[in-house]
């Protein structure tokens, strides 16, 4: 934007047109999906209402589920062991449904910072973290975080202490991943609910670390 005129928008001048996200038209695969959907509904396999409800259920999942698991692991060492041994079983133990997900939980320590990515597509532990953020699916994050994770984390405002190694987990196949962040200092004596409140989505993807100062309490 040139700075040589006042910009109160009480005058008409052209701005570049921002295309809609779906302005690319119907691709072959989009047409295929639409056709299969119509056939399934016409054939009585399911109804449009069933589909809408299923999407609503999927969209309603949230990182609160993962945060509950993290908070429990912080206060209960035996649960932490079970979480690291079998993430899916540990989720079900708290009444968190994970469907067919094979969840691997990786633990941050004083020596290791873990980060999750799917370089091939956008695999994400939706049952415990809800829908992925747009940046997680973006080519820039997927291409860069495996090569220069420290630079990417720094762009998220996460500076790693000297001596901490980075381990990037690429979900290339059948497993899904969640980071168990390190419990921050200053949370001694906190209850599970207060602890869960500082465990954000990004902490469980691994690009951020829990901050007790962010507590709403």
């Amino acid at each position: 934007m040139s700075g040589d005129h006042e910009h109160g928008h009480d005058h008409a001048h052209p701005h570049p047109f921002q295309p809609d996200d779906d302005a690319g038209g119907l691709t072959e695969h989009m047409a295929l999906v639409a056709a299969v959907r119509e056939l399934l509904i016409e054939g009585g396999i399911y109804t449009a209402e069933d589909e809408r409800r299923a999407i609503e259920r999927m969209d309603a999942r949230s990182p609160a589920a993962g945060a509950r698991m993290v908070a429990r692991a912080w206060v209960d060492p035996a649960y932490r062991d079970r979480l690291l041994a079998d993430g899916s079983a540990a989720a079900r133990e708290l009444g968190i449904e994970v469907g067919p997900t094979r969840l691997i939980v990786v633990e941050d320590t004083a020596e290791v910072k873990n980060v999750i990515v799917c370089t091939l597509c956008s695999c994400y532990p939706r049952w415990v973290l809800g829908l992925p953020p747009a940046w997680y699916k973006a080519r820039a994050y997927r291409a860069r975080v495996v090569v220069e994770p420290r630079a990417v984390l720094a762009e998220f405002g996460t500076e790693l202490p000297e001596g901490m190694a980075v381990r990037v987990h690429d979900s290339t196949a059948d497993m899904r991943y969640m980071v168990l962040p390190a419990r921050p200092e200053g949370t001694e004596g906190w209850g599970e609910e207060a602890l869960a409140a500082i465990v954000s989505r990004d902490c469980m993807i691994g690009v951020a670390m829990p901050d007790p100062a962010q507590s709403a309490a």
């Binding site: 370089t119 090569v147 420290r150 979900s171």
Partner: protein, 96 residues
Amino acid sequence: MSEPRFAPGARVTVATRRPACHHRAPAYIKGRTGMVERLCGTFGNPETLAHGGDGLPAQPLYRVRFAARELWGDRAERDGDAVEVEVYEHWLEAAS
């Protein structure tokens, strides 16, 4: 279904082939050597599953840890950093 060939700690090298079909070995690990971190179980082969096939024979799936230096050479940010990737057994050979 076959017994898994590799145990945790084994050093393995990823094949360099480039099949035209859907496959889930990312290009950046092909030809690279890493260490088996764990066996994840045995799963249908996506290279036939993705094309209407039955995914058989099922393939043991491993998590393989690659040193960042092994993958990126001088571009790696630091020694000690690593990338862990799920790789199906038919992409792996014992490292020479």
